[in-house]
Structures are given as structure tokens and as C-alpha cells.
């Protein structure tokens, strides 16, 4: 299956792009996706504990099982206000 991944804040600098797509095996989780992204974008590896992940408009944890066409967003801790 294929999912779309968007990066925000300085994650765009770490990856050199604002979005990408990733091919994953059926049943893959957000954790599987993150590991695959670290292979392509090694600088993300250092951010593992500080990475927030959302599917669509809602936060999800690393065990969330992805579906074909999901839109995933990765970003650092938020700083509004």
C-alpha cells in the first residue's frame, strides 16, 4: 500500500522536502512507517522520541495500523501561542 507523508516545521529541513510517499506492506503501523522513513531520511532518526504523528487530522500512536491512501503528518513538538 502507499501512504502520503507530510513534514512540518524543521522536519522539512531534516528531510529536504515537505511531503513524500512511502510504499509499505499491508498491515504496517506508524512505527513501521517511521522506521522506513529513517532509512530514507537518516536525520529523522535522532528525532524519534520528539516526533508527533497524525493520520488525517488526529494524533495516533505508533501502533496505529495504516490503510492505503492514508495521509500521515510528522512534526516536532508544537509551539503555538
Amino acid at each position: 500500500m502507499r501512504v502520503t507523508v507530510c513534514f512540518y516545521s524543521y522536519f522539512k529541513d531534516l528531510t529536504g522536502c515537505a511531503s513524500t510517499t512511502e510504499e509499505l506492506a499491508d498491515g504496517s503501523t506508524l512505527d513501521d512507517l517511521f522506521k522506513a522513513l529513517v532509512v530514507r531520511f537518516p536525520k529523522l532518526g535522532a528525532m524519534q522520541r520528539a516526533t508527533l504523528m497524525a493520520v488525517g487530522l488526529d494524533y495516533q500512536n505508533r501502533t496505529y495500523v495504516l490503510s492505503e491512501g492514508d495521509e500521515v503528518s510528522l512534526f516536532p513538538p508544537v509551539q503555538g501561542g
Binding site: 508527533l52 497524525a54 512534526f75
Partner: protein, 132 residues
């Protein structure tokens, strides 16, 4: 509960927001908060902050916070404006208004909302160093 969220690149227009305030006779407390860009960060002089937002998720998350706010306190109205893009030092980036029957719940709800906004709403800021 009346709720309104605005995420905008335009300056926050306090007089216009105040002129749009609506309160029923049972309401006795209005708490307004204005978050202003500080001109310093540590030892550095800040001329502005550049705000970035994941807008659709930010609006969704703020509406989830409004729903939780309504469950926790008897709030009649909550309005929130967050400015994005370049916001100069000494200019406001956040405006929040909470209207409730009494000051206790209005203060508590406003404090909680801003704390949660800083925890879950996908907005980021980058300092622009140096004077104008």
C-alpha cells in the same frame, strides 16, 4: 456553547473582536488573554516570530479542545484567534476570550485552553533574530 476559531495572517483586531461580543444576562465574567511576541529570547533580540501552521489539523484540534472545555465548565462562549506568518515583536499572536457565569470557571477554562493549545495544536514558531 458559542465557539469561534480564527487562524489568520492578518493582525489581530481587538476593537473589532470586542464589538462582536455577545453575552446573555446570566453571564458575569469575561476573561480575555492576549499573547504578545516578546522582543527577546535569552540574550538575543527578536524582531519577529515566523509562525507556521498545519491549518486544517489546528482548527480540528482547537474544536476538540472547545468540546472538552464545554464538558468541564459552564462556558457560554469561547473565541480564539491565532495569527500566523510573520508577527513582529510587541504585536499579539494569540487572542482568547472566555465568557462564563463566574470568574472562577472563566479563568480556569482560559488557562486550561491555552495550556492545551501549546500542547496539541500544530503551530510552530521560528525567531527572526536581530533588530529591525
Amino acid at each position: 456553547m458559542k465557539k469561534q476559531v480564527t487562524i489568520t495572517a492578518e493582525p489581530i483586531n481587538e476593537p473589532a473582536l470586542l464589538s462582536q461580543r455577545v453575552m446573555s444576562p446570566g453571564m458575569g465574567a469575561v476573561v480575555c488573554f492576549l499573547g504578545v511576541v516578546r522582543g527577546t529570547e535569552g540574550d538575543a533580540t527578536i524582531s519577529a516570530l515566523e509562525y507556521e501552521v498545519f491549518q486544517s489539523m489546528a482548527e480540528h484540534q482547537i474544536n476538540l479542545l472547545f468540546d472538552e472545555l464545554a464538558r468541564r465548565w459552564p462556558i457560554e462562549s469561547v473565541r480564539l484567534v491565532h495569527r500566523i506568518g510573520l508577527v513582529k515583536a510587541n504585536e499579539p499572536s494569540l487572542w482568547v476570550e472566555v465568557i462564563a457565569p463566574h470568574r472562577g470557571e472563566a479563568f480556569a477554562a482560559c488557562q486550561w485552553l491555552i495550556d492545551e493549545l501549546k500542547r496539541v495544536v500544530p503551530i510552530w514558531k521560528k525567531p527572526v533574530i536581530g533588530g529591525p
